[in-house]
C-alpha cells in the first residue's frame, strides 16, 4: 500500500523557502538593472536628436515628450533630474513653485511648415491653406509648438485656416513629423530642426514669411526634489550650455543665445 502523504512542518518550511527564493530573485531582478544611477533628463521632443548627440552615454536616461506633459509629470513627482523645455513658460512655472532651480535659456528655434515627400497637395506657401480642405497636423494648444503655431498664424491673420484644415492635434512634435513623413497629412507645423531630422524621408520645409516668427526660447533647469541627482544635473547643464553642446545644437538647426543667459529673461 502506498505511503500516505502528510503535509509536515518540513514540507511547509520547504514551500516557504521556495516562495522566498522566487520573491528574492524578483527583488534582485528589480534592483539589478540600469538607471538607478543614471541622470534622468526630461526634455522636449524637438531635442531628441540633438541631446542624444550631446550625451548618448548610459549615464543619461532620456524621457522625450511634449513640454507640458513633462511639466505635469514633474509636478506629480516624477523622478526627473533635468527639465529642458521648448518654451520658458513651463520651467518658469516649476521655478515659481520651487520645483526646479532658476532656468537658463540655451537655444532658440523657428516654426516651419513641413510637407511630405513630393508635396502631393501642392502647397507652396502657407496662404495656400486658405482654400481649406487640406489635411493639417498641428500641436495641441497646451504644448509649445501648438501655442507658437497659433501665435504665428494669428500674427498673419490666418488663424482661420486651422478650423478648415486641421485633422489632428498632436501631443508633441514627433506626432506631427511622423504624420507628415508617412504622408497621412498634407502639411504640419513643427520646428525647422524637425524638418532637418525627417529630411531623409523626403519631408520638405515650406518657408514662412519673414517677420512672422514668434520668440521661441528653450530653457533648461535642474529639478529640485528629494533624491535628485544634482551633481549629474549640473554636469549635464554645463555640457548643453558649453562649447560642444552649442556646436551640436547649432548643427541641428537651433539658434543660440549670445551666451548662456542666467536670469532667464533674455
Amino acid at each position: 500500500m502506498p505511503k500516505q502523504f502528510r503535509l509536515t512542518r518540513a514540507h511547509r518550511l520547504a514551500a516557504s523557502g521556495v516562495i522566498l527564493i522566487i520573491l528574492g530573485s524578483v527583488a534582485l531582478l528589480l534592483a539589478g538593472t540600469r538607471s538607478t544611477e543614471a541622470t534622468n533628463v526630461y526634455a522636449a521632443a524637438s531635442l531628441r536628436d540633438a541631446f542624444q548627440k550631446i550625451d548618448g552615454s548610459d549615464e543619461i536616461a532620456y524621457n522625450f515628450a511634449g513640454s507640458g506633459a513633462l511639466r505635469d509629470q514633474i509636478e506629480a513627482g516624477a523622478p526627473a533630474d533635468i527639465f529642458a523645455s521648448a518654451s520658458p513658460d513651463e520651467p518658469q512655472e516649476l521655478f515659481a513653485n520651487g520645483d526646479c532651480e532658476r532656468p537658463v535659456t540655451f537655444a532658440t528655434n523657428e516654426v516651419a511648415m513641413l510637407v511630405p515627400a513630393g508635396n502631393p497637395s501642392r502647397i507652396q506657401t502657407v496662404y495656400d491653406l486658405e482654400t481649406g480642405n487640406r489635411k493639417l497636423a498641428i500641436g495641441v494648444a497646451d504644448v509649445p509648438i501648438g501655442s507658437y503655431t497659433r501665435e504665428v498664424l494669428s500674427g498673419m491673420g490666418l488663424l482661420g485656416i486651422l478650423e478648415t484644415n486641421t485633422v489632428t492635434e498632436e501631443q508633441d512634435v514627433t506626432g506631427i513629423t511622423s504624420k507628415v513623413a508617412l504622408g497621412e497629412v498634407d502639411a504640419g507645423f513643427a520646428y525647422v530642426t524637425d524638418g532637418k531630422i525627417v529630411a531623409d524621408q523626403g519631408v520638405r520645409i515650406v518657408p514662412l514669411p519673414a517677420g512672422s516668427q514668434p520668440k521661441v526660447r528653450y530653457q533648461i533647469c535642474a529639478v529640485t526634489r528629494g533624491g535628485a541627482d544634482t551633481v549629474g544635473a549640473e554636469a549635464y547643464i554645463k555640457k548643453v550650455t558649453g562649447y560642444q553642446g552649442r556646436r551640436v545644437l547649432s548643427e541641428a538647426g537651433f539658434g543660440l543665445p549670445p551666451h548662456p543667459s542666467p536670469d532667464g529673461r533674455r
Binding site: 538593472t33 538607471s35 506629480a76 516624477a78 508617412l182 528629494g226
Partner: protein, 271 residues
C-alpha cells in the same frame, strides 16, 4: 403553395445571416491580416537584438511577473473568502472586485494618480515615507494589478463555488485542518478554473495601456511595456510598431488557445 413560400423564406433568411456574418468577420479579420501583411516579418527575429525591444520585453516581463504574483497571492484568498463565506457587505465587496472590468482604463489611470500622485490623496504620506510611485516601475505593477485582478478573482470565485461543498466538509470530518483542506482538496478541484482565470488576467495585464501610460508614463527601460512601445514607435519607427503588434497578436493567440484548453479540462467535482 405555402411550402414554397417557406422554403424561399428559409433561404432568404439564411442569406441575410450569412451576409451579416460575412461583414462582421471580414471587419474583424482585416486589421489582423493587414498587420501581418504590412509588418516586416522577416526582420522580426533580429528584433530581439534591438536594445529598444530588449528594454520593452524586460520591463513587460518584470512588471507582469510581479503583478501576477500579487494577483494570485492576494486574489486567491480573497476569492475563497467571497466564494465560501457570507457576511454583511459581501455584495459590495464582490462589486468592488468586479468594478475594474467595466471601468475605462483611463479612469483607472487618473484614479491611481489621484490616489498615489505627489499631490494625491496619499501623496503627502508617501512623500514623508520617502516613497515615490508615479512614473516608476512600481506604477506599472500597480496599474497592471488594478486592471487585471478582477479577471482572476471573478473566475476564482466561480471555480471555488463550483466545488461540491460535501468534499471539503468530508475532509474536515476526517480531521484535516482548514489550511490542509484548502491546499489538498479545494485547490486541486478548482485548479482548472483558477488557471483559466489566471490566463485571462495575464492577457489583460500584458495588454494594459491606458492606466499605465497615465500613471507610469512611457519611458524606455523603466516603464515602457509592449503596448506603450507600439504607441511610442507610432511616431518613431513605424515598422517596429508593426513588428511589436505582430508579436502581441501571436501572444494573444497563444493565450486564447491556453484558455480554451484549461476550460475544457474538467476534473470530477462530485463523489
Amino acid at each position: 403553395m405555402r411550402n414554397q413560400r417557406h422554403r424561399s423564406g428559409e433561404a432568404g433568411f439564411t442569406a441575410f445571416l450569412a451576409l451579416c456574418a460575412g461583414v462582421a468577420l471580414t471587419f474583424l479579420a482585416v486589421p489582423i491580416v493587414a498587420l501581418f501583411w504590412e509588418a516586416p516579418l522577416g526582420e522580426i527575429p533580429s528584433l530581439f537584438g534591438d536594445p529598444v525591444v530588449l528594454d520593452i520585453l524586460t520591463v513587460t516581463a518584470k512588471t507582469n511577473l510581479i503583478a501576477n504574483l500579487l494577483i494570485i497571492g492576494f486574489g486567491t484568498p480573497t476569492a475563497y473568502l467571497l466564494a465560501t463565506r457570507d457576511f454583511r457587505g459581501r455584495t459590495l465587496a464582490v462589486t468592488l472586485v468586479e468594478l475594474p472590468v467595466v471601468l475605462p482604463p483611463a479612469v483607472a489611470g487618473i484614479g491611481l494618480l489621484a490616489a498615489f500622485g505627489a499631490n494625491g490623496l496619499l501623496g503627502g504620506l508617501l512623500k514623508d515615507a520617502g516613497i515615490m510611485i508615479p512614473f516608476t516601475e512600481w506604477a506599472v505593477v500597480m496599474a497592471v494589478t488594478f486592471v487585471a485582478s478582477p479577471f482572476y478573482v471573478r473566475q476564482a470565485i466561480t471555480a471555488f463555488q463550483s466545488v461540491d461543498p460535501l468534499l471539503p466538509a468530508a475532509s474536515r470530518t476526517l480531521g484535516a485542518g482548514p489550511v490542509r483542506t484548502f491546499l489538498r482538496v479545494l485547490l486541486p478541484l478548482s485548479a482548472s478554473g483558477l488557471m483559466a482565470g489566471w490566463v485571462l488576467s495575464f492577457a489583460r495585464g500584458i495588454g494594459e495601456f491606458g492606466a499605465t501610460i497615465m500613471f507610469a508614463g512611457n519611458v524606455q527601460g523603466v516603464t515602457q511595456t509592449l503596448t506603450l512601445g507600439i504607441y511610442q514607435q507610432l511616431n518613431g519607427d513605424f515598422d517596429l510598431a508593426l513588428a511589436i503588434g505582430v508579436l502581441l497578436v501571436i501572444l494573444s493567440g497563444a493565450v486564447l488557445l491556453t484558455y480554451k484548453l484549461f476550460s475544457s479540462w474538467r476534473s470530477s467535482t462530485s463523489i
